[in-house]
Symmetry: C2
Subunit: 359 residues, 2 copies
């Protein structure tokens, strides 16, 4: 088992070599760590800034063994890491953070909402369904219109359908492939907010100011942070984040998506056991950003400060929007972050900009 | 020849894989570039955060050809790049920045001071010597005590001797190996300052606020920036930097070490045609740090803003001082930068910390 805290010069493994892995690798580099990336894609963005690159599936036992041989601490950039991979890594002495419970909860929307409610983190009403008949009953239970989502997989709005009437539930269930689903009551929210928080190996918790988020077509378009919220809303968000982190015995950074309801109550939409797109503003708005914070946490280091030092508008650059880098690079208030992806497919996250203002 | 501006996703070559190369690679990664490192050391710090690594001498034609094959723009982290290497890279179509004139001037202390004085950048009085007899005459000319330095090589106080009396000049010349030297008048300076500046492909110039520097045993110990200086001193520094940059038809970031004399006149001590240790404060004190600025310049991008957003005390971590990372990581105002070097030899630059305060 790795001795903690991890010493500078040691290697941190990351499952997944996309932009989150790349920005984690940049942060790890600043702290003197080496990084090992495991990703099925030979030319993955994070692999190009890593000391070690393993090109294989996340369930490949040989690649996982090679990863565990160089990296005594392993983390990940996406929540659909196979449980068997985590078990193998742990069995070989690697410390995997966040741990298996965080993955179990984040991989199944039913487990997630059940966990959240059990830990005092309110959500919309929901019901599970494993059949077309049960799907109809679930919509009747939570009330139409309702949002039907596959319990597993799905991101950026994929794997979900709005159901306007209970009578349409069977069709939606079939369209979603007949896999187990969760049906969620519509949230008549005022705003979408999120909170990025971290928990260290010692149980210490650090919470960043909230971000206000705007989605288009299920994909995050922009975040503004710190969001203008009441002290009561900020307190609620901190309490919710702390309950989730403690309830999962969590280590690392977590993203918690929230609905702000009329009257200021917060409901949890979903959690992501990793650094999060709505936390990219921290790169230029905080002294220690979410990427360094995550590296600090999984390495057993003390957490860094989370106060905002600037107000930031974060804008995702999707598809060929990244071609606007010339213009963005010339804007004095704009910090440009590009991911090194080769292929600007429509809707693909190619980079982001942080427009920085005084607090 | 490379089309400029360089597009994100293209590769920037860096000669030298130490900490400056590593921090340049981190900055290049943030802007979406790939990096190729050429360094004779197989485990060089920057090679571990690069897409391409070539382990070879800087004069190795095959390695240089391999570098030019992947990188259409090549830069460097140290001034003693062989002129033949630059010529070979240029001959193969790579744009090398800063250019050959900057290297010629920076590699020879006599050429450097001659250039500076010719371009209105004042220095101490100096004289060259190629023999023991000439060395005595040189000390007599500039006046003892004087500082004798080899014209080439030497850094962090190496390759130099104080000469207290002209009669000691022959001995000092022999101790320095009998190589050509320059003899410099002692500068009765009040403070050591430095200015980091950049020039873009389009001739635009951007100058950071000055740093006040403190050396110990010839090695930089700490910098405080922005230095408290009069408007007249700041103006002088800006003018000097601009003259040097224009005079060299420079592209990239340059470090200019200055002596502040009683009465506020600035003399140039030396220039470094690269990112500079006294500019590390910009990582946590400016929106765009010297590393991103250098990448922007050599890539033909617009330069970024250089205003300070915080006041920073930068402290180098030498040798086993880097073992204090546990303590530094727990200080809320301290940003830790470690270089991933394996061997903490005494006096070796292992990392630095930036202690951040309000302006």
């Amino acid at each position: 088992m790795a001795d903690l805290p991890l010493e500078p010069g040691q290697t941190i493994g990351i499952l997944g070599g996309g932009q989150l892995g790349r920005m984690l690798a940049e942060a790890a580099s600043r702290l003197g760590f080496d990084v090992a990336i495991l990703d099925p894609e030979p030319d993955a963005p994070a692999g190009r800034v890593a000391a070690h690159r393993f090109v294989a599936g996340y369930d490949d036992p040989k690649a996982l063994a090679a990863l565990a041989a160089v990296a005594s601490v392993v983390t990940y950039e996406f929540e659909n890491v196979p449980a068997a991979a985590v078990a193998q890594l742990a069995g070989m002495g690697a410390l995997v953070a966040p741990g298996p419970e965080a993955l179990r909860v984040a991989q199944d929307r039913l487990a997630e909402k059940t966990f959240l409610n059990a830990h005092g983190a309110p959500t919309v009403a929901f019901a599970a369904a494993d059949s077309a008949e049960a799907a109809v009953a679930a919509v009747e239970q939570v009330g139409a219109p309702a949002l039907m989502k596959t319990r597993r997989e799905g991101y950026d709005g994929k794997g979900q359908r709005w159901v306007e009437h209970a009578a349409d539930a069977a069709k939606a269930f079939a369209e979603l492939g007949g896999a187990p689903v969760i049906v969620e009551a519509a949230a008549a929210f005022e705003r979408e907010l999120s909170v990025i928080a971290a928990r260290g190996r010692d149980g210490a918790i650090a919470v960043y100011p909230l971000a206000e988020n705007h989605h288009e077509g299920g994909i995050l378009r922009r975040s503004i942070a710190p969001a203008r919220v009441s002290a009561a809303v900020a307190d609620q968000a901190e309490r919710i984040a702390a309950r989730i982190l403690a309830g999962l015995d969590y280590v690392g950074v977590i993203g918690v998506e929230l609905f702000e309801m009329a009257g200021g109550q917060l409901l949890v939409n979903e959690i992501a056991p990793r650094v999060h797109n709505t936390g990219h503003w921290t790169q230029d708005g905080c002294d220690v950003d979410q990427f360094e914070q995550h590296i600090r946490a999984v390495a057993g280091w003390p957490l860094g400060p989370t106060a905002a030092v600037a107000r930031v508008e974060m804008l995702n650059l999707l598809g060929d929007e990244a071609a606007g880098w010339r213009r963005f690079a010339a804007e004095p208030e704009t910090r440009l972050h590009l991911y090194g992806k080769r292929d600007a497919k429509p809707g693909r996250k190619m980079g982001h900009i942080n427009r920085v203002k005084g607090l």
